[in-house]
């Protein structure tokens, strides 16, 4: 398969911060965004003031600011990861049912989540390893996966053992069905949806090398889906 010119590449795989920077750049100005616990939280470090992004935390706040430090720390002001955060001007507080109604009602533009696996159809597995002795814990993952207009996943493409986390069918228990719209990995950015998996960018590998690693058919991105901004 010939790689079309719209497919962008970088010389080497992206680190976690570079990936977070890339996700941050792709968020449209004025968006309302929920950043999941862990790697997705890094995205907040790269959001620019001129983007005017409003962060939601599902424990009851819009307009969440950066992590609190020193005297800013207030036990009554935490994020979904239970980390003390700050309040930006124009913030608002609400109870849990109102907060999840906001998420579940489709009002958040984007949520960014980590994942164990994403399927070609956009199924997400990120809450449970399925190990028989594991204590299950789901939190807001299923609501986030199902409720946001766009669900972006951030993950390494391969497990430590070298297996692709982008899979034909998830083997881990699902978080949501057909919900993921983009997958940001260290080696490539994938667009998932009813038309199959498109590759928007590769990092440190060619399209053909990428296809050899991933057990689902890949297509180069359709030109209209290419990023508007140069990386």
């Amino acid at each position: 398969m010939t790689v079309e010119t719209s497919l962008q590449t970088a010389e080497k795989p992206l680190g976690r911060d570079e990936l977070a920077r890339l996700v941050a750049r792709d968020i449209k100005p004025g968006s309302f965004v929920n950043l999941g616990i862990g790697q997705p939280t890094l995205v907040s470090n790269y959001l620019q003031p001129e983007q005017d992004i409003t962060l939601h935390t599902e424990n009851g706040m819009l307009g969440m600011g950066p992590e609190a430090t020193g005297d800013q720390i207030d036990g009554d002001l935490i994020n979904a990861g239970k980390i003390p955060v700050t309040e930006l001007p124009g913030a608002s507080y609400f109870h849990h049912a109102d907060s999840f109604a906001m998420m579940r009602g489709g009002h958040l533009d984007i949520c960014v989540l980590g994942a164990f696996q994403v399927s070609a159809a956009g199924d997400l597995a990120n809450w449970h390893t399925g190990a028989p002795d594991a204590i299950p814990a789901v939190g807001g993952a299923m609501d986030l996966a199902t409720g946001a207009k766009d669900v972006f996943v951030m993950m390494t493409l391969l497990t430590r053992e070298g297996a692709s986390k982008l899979v034909d069918t998830c083997t881990y228990p699902l978080t949501g069905v057909g919900c993921v719209t983009r997958v940001y990995t260290d080696m490539a950015v994938f667009l998932t949806g009813p038309n199959g998996v498109q590759v928007r960018e590769t990092f440190g590998c060619t399209f053909e090398e990428l296809q050899a690693l991933v057990p689902v058919p890949l297509m180069p991105v359709a030109p209209e889906a290419a990023p508007a901004v140069e990386p």
Partner: protein, 219 residues
Amino acid sequence: MLNFMDTVEEAVAGIQDGSTVMIGGFGNAGQPFELIDALMDCGAKELTVVNNNAGQGDQGLALLIKEGRVRKMICSFPRQSDSWHFDAKYKAGEIELELVPQGNLAERIRAAGAGIGGFFTPTGYGTILAEGKETRIIDGRGQVFETPIHADVALIKALKADGKGNLVYRKTARNFGPIMAAAAKHTVVQVSEIVPVGGLDPENVVTPGIYVNSIVKVA
């Protein structure tokens, strides 16, 4: 009927063996620590507890679980780095767990307070948490039928109460308080401050006093 209590012991005195108890809080924010301690001291057992988590460290809800007073947990996120008492009881088969996605937990609590008999939601559709539940396709989306969670007692924390039992909260400590107050037959609130009737702006009341039964000031 609204009562102002002098002590947390009096405030929780009505909780009986076998009760379903909702406990507010998300992390430490909004957790009614003193009321949980009083629940520990009052001796009630065979409890069903509704909380987002299943206790942390060696205090509060974790201690209730350790002492075998909790028969069943209804929560969204029991597993934490310091949830060792729940973990041990769960692995020993000594506690029942109903795991509920956090948004379903909130909406089911809200439904109980609002008199809703049940609702369909896309959350959880196609996952193991929907197994055995009724599903249907609505407007092209798979949805799961979820039922209200009622409670005998809610233990919550607010910032201030007025003489009518109206409540305001503080920042993200608001979390589950307002919906649990409405979902329980009897709501017990610990507050930092009690102000006279007229001391809260009617526009800013978050929980109207109709949902509140017992108030105790905790220093």
